[in-house]
Symmetry: C2
Subunit: 453 residues, 2 copies
């Protein structure tokens, strides 16, 4: 039986899909961090490449992928669609389980899909250096690779807990020529302030963003690059879903349920947005399930309101699901999901009932990841493992009901740089992570401004 569906390279999509004109409800405008008035796109040009800013508010449904970006994509794209037949048999389920495998990219995750165009646009516009933050290291290594490709300098602020857990991600970034700092660092005011408050902090994506933004503002020829959350990032990621749509057709199926993990929302959006469009166009009913960690449950337990993207309140305010910009999640291994906020597009689709959020604890997630690795031979990244766990739950339901659902997993990356987490899990040393309620109460006390439900 065929279990791998590969598109020919001539069928590589030439355009990204922009969901903005197709959203059921338009997005609310970002607000200026000082005035709290709607911000003009021009105000973002000090941080981002002009083309990215334009894409942030684009109204065209299709946006051409530049040829030099396609040339780089062609080093690993189209990525394969795989059928997880051995997992299906192990679960004794009538469900069909597919995965769109982004682990085939140079740095092992979907992140290169946006790192490459962001570096390219910046290069075109004369930028010399990019700064960014990274959680698990997947985004940092993707941007390091992209900067290396186009001859840009690259500085990465890596969240302390990941920096300590994943030395080989740091090594990969160095190999691709990036400078890497553990965040909070002594390199920025935001970092120094955080260290003064608590020298032992595991850090957070929100804080690392503050550091990277500050470093971009103070560097010459330097801009900032964000690996998730923003509309243009989700746009670049839609190549995943556009490929997957054709590959599911090759397999002769259409997904009943699409599951993907959500940290900032770009992996989820990249797979789901084109499939959402396809489902609407063809009058199909498809469930879109966004999977987050219980330890950082922005969609399932956060508020939908305006909030800053970073801890130091330097970014525009976005209307999104948030746990509060000063929320510091426990150091779970899925470092890429430790973000207090969520992509406004994904948040809006949750509000509109298109996307269903769900949250799981890391011990349950790792149990499914081990089952997946032992049956399929592919080791999921801890972030990806959240989607795998959700798919396993649905497939088990199908086994109980006899329902033959087709499940598509957004397999955002492999776990080759996360083996210490697997070792800890297998040795019984992995913590369940703190109960979410305790985290909320503590965060709420620290912020002293609001209570989480």
């Amino acid at each position: 039986m065929q279990t791998m569906f590969t598109l020919d390279q001539k069928d590589l999509p030439r355009r990204w899909y922009n969901v903005l004109p197709d959203l059921p409800t338009p997005l609310d405008a970002p607000l200026h961090p000082g005035t709290r008035e709607p911000i003009e796109p021009e105000a973002l040009l000090s941080l981002f490449a002009r083309t990215c800013v334009e894409q942030e508010v684009a109204t065209d449904r299709w946006i051409d992928i530049p040829d030099p970006v396609l040339d780089v994509y062609r080093h690993w794209r189209p990525t394969p669609l795989l059928r997880a037949t051995r997992l299906e048999r192990a679960l004794n389920t009538p469900a069909h389980i597919y995965l769109k495998y982004e682990g085939a990219s140079p740095t092992g995750s979907h992140k290169t899909n946006t790192a490459v165009p962001q570096a390219y646009y910046n290069k075109l516009e004369g930028t010399k250096n990019l700064t960014t933050e990274t959680g698990a290291g997947q985004w940092g290594s993707a941007l390091a690779f992209a900067c290396q490709t186009f001859g840009l300098g690259c500085t990465v602020f890596m969240v302390r807990s990941s920096y300590d857990q994943k030395p080989y991600r740091k090594a990969m970034m160095s190999l691709f020529g990036a400078r890497v700092h553990a965040s909070p660092s002594a390199e920025t005011q935001a970092g120094r302030d955080a260290l003064a408050r608590n020298r032992e902090t595991p850090g957070s994506l929100g804080l690392a963003i503050s550091e990277a933004v500050e470093a971009a503002r103070s560097g010459t020829g330097t801009k900032y690059s964000l690996g998730s959350v923003l509309n243009h990032v989700l746009l670049h990621q839609t190549i995943i879903g556009l490929e997957a749509e054709r590959q599911m057709e090759m397999a002769g199926e259409s997904p009943d349920v699409v599951v993907a993990c959500v940290g900032g929302g770009s992996n989820f959006g990249g797979l789901v947005l084109p499939l959402y469009r396809a489902a609407r166009e063809r009058g199909r009913t498809t469930r879109f399930v966004a999977v987050e960690p219980e330890a950082c449950p922005s969609l399932t337990r956060g508020e939908y309101r305006y909030d800053f993207g970073d801890t130091a309140k330097t970014t525009p305010l976005l209307r999104m699901h948030t746990l509060g910009h000063d929320f510091v999640p426990p150091p779970i291994h899925a470092g890429g999901l430790r973000y207090h906020g969520m992509a406004p597009i994904v948040s809006r689709l949750v509000e509109d009932g298109v996307v269903e959020p769900v949250a799981y604890g890391q011990l349950d997630v790792f149990a499914s990841a081990v089952l997946f690795a032992r049956t399929e031979g592919i080791i999921p990244a801890p972030e990806t493992a959240h989607a795998v766990h959700a798919a396993v739950q649905i497939a088990r339901e199908c086994a109980a009901t006899g329902d033959r659902k087709t499940i598509l997993i957004g397999f955002s990356g492999h776990g080759h740089f996360d083996m210490s987490a697997y070792s800890a899990y297998l040795a019984g040393e992995l913590a369940r992570a703190e109960p979410a309620d305790r985290v909320y109460v503590r965060a709420a006390a620290a912020a002293a401004t609001r209570l989480y439900c």
Copy 2:
């Protein structure tokens, strides 16, 4: 420009290619370790599955791949053929550089190609457990995966120097359910003897083989599995070259030079043997270059004679290029190339002038690996990096002469579990490895039986 050539899964080869009937000179028979008389295949049945023993001396040119093996292969095969256009541009060479990418397999190297059929045949014949040795951990993790797939127990003796350098390979083997011991270990007499001689030994593949063979002989329902050297192992690996042959046709080219690294010879043989056949059949001249480390130069500086496959002299004697079964190579990072001997098939083809051996030092090899990673975004395993370095040398010659050669690299695996080696290299802390002459002299003194040239 197209840079990835993917075969459709319906074009997955259904048969392996057996080179034995096509060798210019037949192989010399293995000898019994006790009597030194030619050994009967039957005598190998205490160690190996019957089908593997039969394949060791098969005379058919084509051997069917069993359907259950094809089902597992289909989880990652056919693997892609990639064109390294960015490396070509960086070298400013008219050469075209292709790589057959075996890093796409579950455990990241070509080793699963033979681990899966070996586990399958053993399962069919009633074996309960397999034992083996591993150097870099690529073979051990491949066999662990295959045993997990078919429900066999698995015990791996991992060469001490790799065990210490690569904890995450060990974690991967554990994840796939294997028991892993650092070799020399206290689990076997061979290991205890070696520890008594030198508690600080980095170990060697030859010694780890002795341990695994001893463990297989003393366990109930237990057999042994070898990841390289033997004819049946090279046979299983020919799927690489059979796919590559068709993919080079898709690319509209035929290779002038094929380069691959050699440790025991299975990766090299797997790619080269089908291409050797194709070249002969079509009257093409193709160079086949076998690349080994200066620190363990069995083909370039060893003798072609009968020798044991292991340190404790428990295996049959094979006629091959050898540095002596008691040779302990320095702990270079390319752990998979630290073997004193060589596949008899590869040795024979070197003697017959079909294969050209060459040896490089690890610092030069890492320099090319870094260039490759920074241009192509793929991080080569240290073993694979030897082939990359050879290809870079040839491409540089082409740049000097204007010759437009087509070079095909056997890209045996990725380096995601070797980042500590890259870190050491980038920090300037990687040793050139000991000069080969000093190693020889010391080994010769220890053995006190012969001198190496």
